[in-house]
Symmetry: C2
């Protein structure tokens, strides 16, 4: 089933340009055809095309359905974007498929990348949401200084920290199922000692994801997968 994304569908009864083009040009759908549209805020609509158009296809809503996310608790990952944008982009895609509520782009002292074009990442979030048939679009927070982000409050707070000399707990043992979790993942060069201290003071617990040395984006995705595995195991 192809899923369309139109954040304002209830107001406008119209598909945005990109989805209109895909609907009419690529799929060659026409008046009377049924499509499924999500608004990215947890609603799915069964719609009937009234006026196909390459730029603004008009529809009629036949049915509105709540499409709740299948996991409990909010999953937030705050990651220092790796130098190579592809690595951030696949993390965004895979985390969206597996299930994430919010991705925060962190600016740390040793960040290799200080700026990120969010529009590219947004596009990836949207297509991954459509592709995995979800109804909620993950929230993307543009580059934010670690010190500013630490002011926000969350349920469980962990940070992945590489320095093997520091005592760390095993993330999979610590994380509690079905509640809000925020995981910080530092840059390739790791958090600076000052940043580690800041994180601790803000109540973040230093964790390891096991014996493997993982790249920034791999650690972040492993954390997301681990949260879902632990939620699944607990909901039995």
């Amino acid at each position: 089933m192809i899923q369309f994304y139109a954040p304002e569908i209830e107001k406008t009864l119209t598909l945005p340009e990109s989805d209109s083009a895909h609907c009419t040009r690529v799929l060659r759908l026409t008046a009377g055809d049924e499509i499924s549209v999500v608004d990215g805020r947890g609603h799915r609509f069964r719609c009937v095309i009234t006026e196909p158009h390459a730029k603004h296809t008009h529809i009629e809503i036949a049915e509105r359905e709540d499409l709740l996310k299948p996991w409990k608790g909010r999953v937030t990952v705050a990651i220092a974007p790796p130098k190579n944008m592809d690595r951030l982009e696949w993390f965004a895609e895979k985390a969206t498929e597996m299930g994430i509520d919010r991705i925060v782009l962190l600016r740390c002292r040793r960040s290799e990348r200080k700026e990120v074009r969010c529009d590219r990442v947004e596009k990836i979030l949207v297509s991954a949401m459509k592709q995995s048939l979800k109804g909620v679009l993950p929230e993307l927070t543009p580059i934010t200084l670690l010190s500013d982000f630490l002011k926000e409050d969350f349920g469980q707070k962990y940070f992945g920290y590489c320095d093997a000399d520091t005592p760390r707990l095993l993330f999979t043992e610590e994380v509690r199922p079905c509640s809000d979790v925020c995981v910080l993942i530092g840059p390739e060069g790791d958090f600076s000692p000052e940043e580690v201290e800041m994180c601790r003071k803000a109540g973040y617990i230093p964790v390891t994801f096991g014996d493997a040395r993982l790249r920034t984006e791999t650690a972040a995705l492993f954390a997301v997968a681990a949260i879902h595995v632990i939620n699944q195991l607990s909901s039995q």
Copy 2:
């Protein structure tokens, strides 16, 4: 720490061309410098460079150490390569970082991709092994017909199957920790009904990875992550 890969280091006492170039041209290491070399079969060697050379750098072995993999049981994923090679390649990289023993490239009836250049994937396995400081190179099995692969025997056998009408078990609930596991992941178009029957007859259990619809390569990586999470939880 930079890790070099030289499968025959004990015999040849020489770094292969690519690693020699990296060692001398990129890192500008020279005679007397110490390097760490793995053979991909679970051994790490502390070596001293005797003759730096862009194509064949000679070394002396100062110390030989067993570098056992940090997880118990063999993790095998047999995956029908997606149409887009990048997706297979990043699965290979990420699975190697997280930890996998063997990747099998499956040819299924609905496979979009019938051939894969294994040398490219091999390169990725090697660099991911180096990067994640592992000493064992995952085994890569070139394109194999599903029917042939099913003749092999494994411990726990599961296959990810999308058809929601078929009753499936939740993988994370079924998989038992620290033992050999083989997971089959079908092509974008899913296993054909005949293939599903073949898998069942061969003792494979149809599983789901949760409520999210995952791409081929995401399902495969989630399975690998789940196995490690469950091993970590059990080894407490």
